[in-house]
Amino acid sequence: MKEITELSISELQEAVKKGELTYSDIFEFTAKRIIEEEKEVRGYISLFLEEAREQAKKADKERNNTLPLAGIPLAIKDNIAVKDKPLTCGSKILSNFISPYDATVVKRLKSAGCLVLGKTNLDEFAMGSSNETSYFGPVRNPIDKERVPGGSSGGSAAVVKYGGAIAALGSDTGGSIRQPAAFCGVCGLKPTYGRVSRFGLVAFASSLDTIGPIARTVEDCALILQIIAGYDERDATSVPLPTERYLPLTGKIRDLTIGVAKEFFTSALSPKIKTVIEEAITELGKVSKGVKVISLPHLPYSAACYHLIAMAEASSNLARYDGVRYGYRTQVHTEEFKKIAQYEDPLQVFYEKTRGEGFGRETKRRIIIGTFGLSKGYYEEYYGLGVKVRGLIKGDFLSAFQEVDVILGPTTPTVAFKLGEKKDPLAMYLSDIFTSIANLAGLPAISVPCKRKVDNLPVGLQIIGKPCAEKEILEVAFAYERL
C-alpha cells in the first residue's frame, strides 16, 4: 500500500472504507510528522492536536458517514477565523486575540467533517513573499531548510509538503497561495474573486483578497474548492452564480486552446525555469486543441500596480487596530508614556504607541506608503493611477480570452531563495511579478509542480482561466499532473 502522503483525500476515504486505514491512523501519521518537523520548519502558530485526536476517534466510530472530508486533518492559515481559536495574522498586535466565530469557509469545511489541526504561520497580515516577517518567526522550506517556503501562505504550503496536514487553506492577495505552492512543490489554487466567501478572513487588500486550497494533488484542490465555493450573503462581493461541479476530473482538454503570454518570458525569468515551463507547455500542447502565443502588454506593470493598490487598501484596513477594543495595547502607566502625553494628546499617543509597538517593520513600511498614496494631492497620481492600470490589465485579459481558453506561464521568476537573501524590499515585491496579474483581474489561477526540478528545487506552472472557469483550469492542471 502507498504511504499516506501519496494518497489523495478520496483515496484515503476509500482506504478507510475498505478497513485498510482508520481516521486515527491518518491523524497519528500527521501528528508524528508535525512532531518531527515543526522544530525546524515552524509552519504552525497554534496546534489543537488533542481536540483533533478525539475528533478522529469519533469519526472512526461513525465510519459509515459519507461526509467528503470526514476525519481528514486540515490546517488553516492564521488570518482565517476559527471559533474559539487564536487569530494572530502573524502579528504582535493580534497575538492575544481569540476569534469569536468561524469564517464561512471554516464552517463549510467543518460541516464536511474535517479536523482542524492548527493555524499556520504567515507573513504579518499576509504582507510578504517569503514568510520572514511573521512575529512568530520565519517558516523554513521543508525541501531545503535554508530556503524560504514563499509567502504569505508559506506555513500552509510547508505543512502540506512535509505531511503535517493533508491539505490547508491559504489566502491569495497577490500570489500568496500560488507562490508558496510553487516553492514547496504542492498545488495551490486561487479562485475567482468572489467565488469563495471572504467572511471571516482578516482583510489586507479587500478588492484583491481571496481564500483557496493548498494540497498535494489537483483533485484534492478541486474537492476542497467544491466545499468552500458558493454564494454567501455575509460577503457583499460574493458572486451570485451557481457553483460548478468540479469533480470528477477527467483531464480531457482536447477542446481547450492554450494561450502563452510572451510577456512571461522576459529577462526577469530564470533561464532554467524558462526551459522547464516551455517543456510543460509543449507537453500540454500535445493533449489540447493547440497552443497559441498571445500578448498581455501590461503584464510588466502589474507588480507596481498591485503594490500601489494593495498598500493603499492595507493602510485603510489596518487602521482598525488601535488597541481600544481588542488586540495588543501599549502600557499607559509607564514614565515614558506619561512624559510624552504631557505635551501631546494622550489618546493620539496611545494609538501611535500601540500601533508602533504592535506592527512589524514591513507592515509599517506598507502602511506608510499606502497612506502616502491615499493622501491629499497624491491620491489621483498614485491610487487613482493604480485603478486605471488595473482596468487596462483587465482589458488585456478580455482580448486574450477571445482567442484562448486558458493562459499558461511560470508561477515565479526564480526557485525558492535563501532565508535573508532578499534584503531589499523592492526585490521582494518583484517576487509577485507573475502572480499579481490574476488578482488584479480577479481571475482564477492554479499553480502545479512541474515534472522537472531546477537545482533540485520545485518549479510551479501557473494556469490562469476565465472568470468562474475554475473547472477548466483544474482540468488542465489534472491533465498535466497525469502526463
Binding site: 464561512t104 452564480l241 506608510i368 485603478v387 483587465k394 476565465k466
Partner: protein
C-alpha cells in the same frame, strides 16, 4: 525624486516610529515610490477608468439565491452577538480571554 516626510506620514497613519525603525524604513520609501512611477505613462492611455466587467455565464435567479441562503443559515449560526450596534468580541487582557457564548 519624490520628497517624503516620513514623520508627517507616520502621524497620519497613527504610527509611532522609533529611531531605528525610521532609519530602516525611510531610505527604502523613495525607491518604492519611484518604482510606482514606472506606470505613470499609462495614465495618459485611453482606456477604462474603472475595472471592466467580464461577461458572466448566468446570473442566479433571486429565488435560487434565497434558497441557498436558507441552506447556509444552519452552517452560519456562529456570528458574534450584537450589542449597541457592535459585534461583541472576547475581552482580552494580559493574555487571558473570556469567550462570548452565543445565546
Amino acid at each position: 525624486m519624490v520628497n517624503i516626510d516620513i514623520d508627517k506620514l507616520a502621524r497620519l497613519a497613527r504610527l509611532y516610529l522609533e529611531k531605528e525603525a525610521k532609519e530602516k524604513i525611510a531610505p527604502s520609501l523613495p525607491k518604492i515610490i519611484e518604482y510606482f512611477q514606472t506606470i505613470k505613462h499609462l495614465g495618459q492611455k485611453p482606456g477604462p477608468c474603472l475595472p471592466q466587467k467580464f461577461p458572466c455565464p448566468r446570473r442566479k435567479e433571486e429565488a435560487e439565491i434565497h434558497k441557498e441562503i436558507r441552506c447556509e443559515e444552519k452552517f452560519l449560526k456562529t456570528l458574534p452577538n450584537y450589542q449597541d450596534g457592535y459585534f461583541q468580541v472576547p475581552h482580552c487582557e494580559a493574555g487571558r480571554f473570556t469567550p462570548q457564548i452565543r445565546e
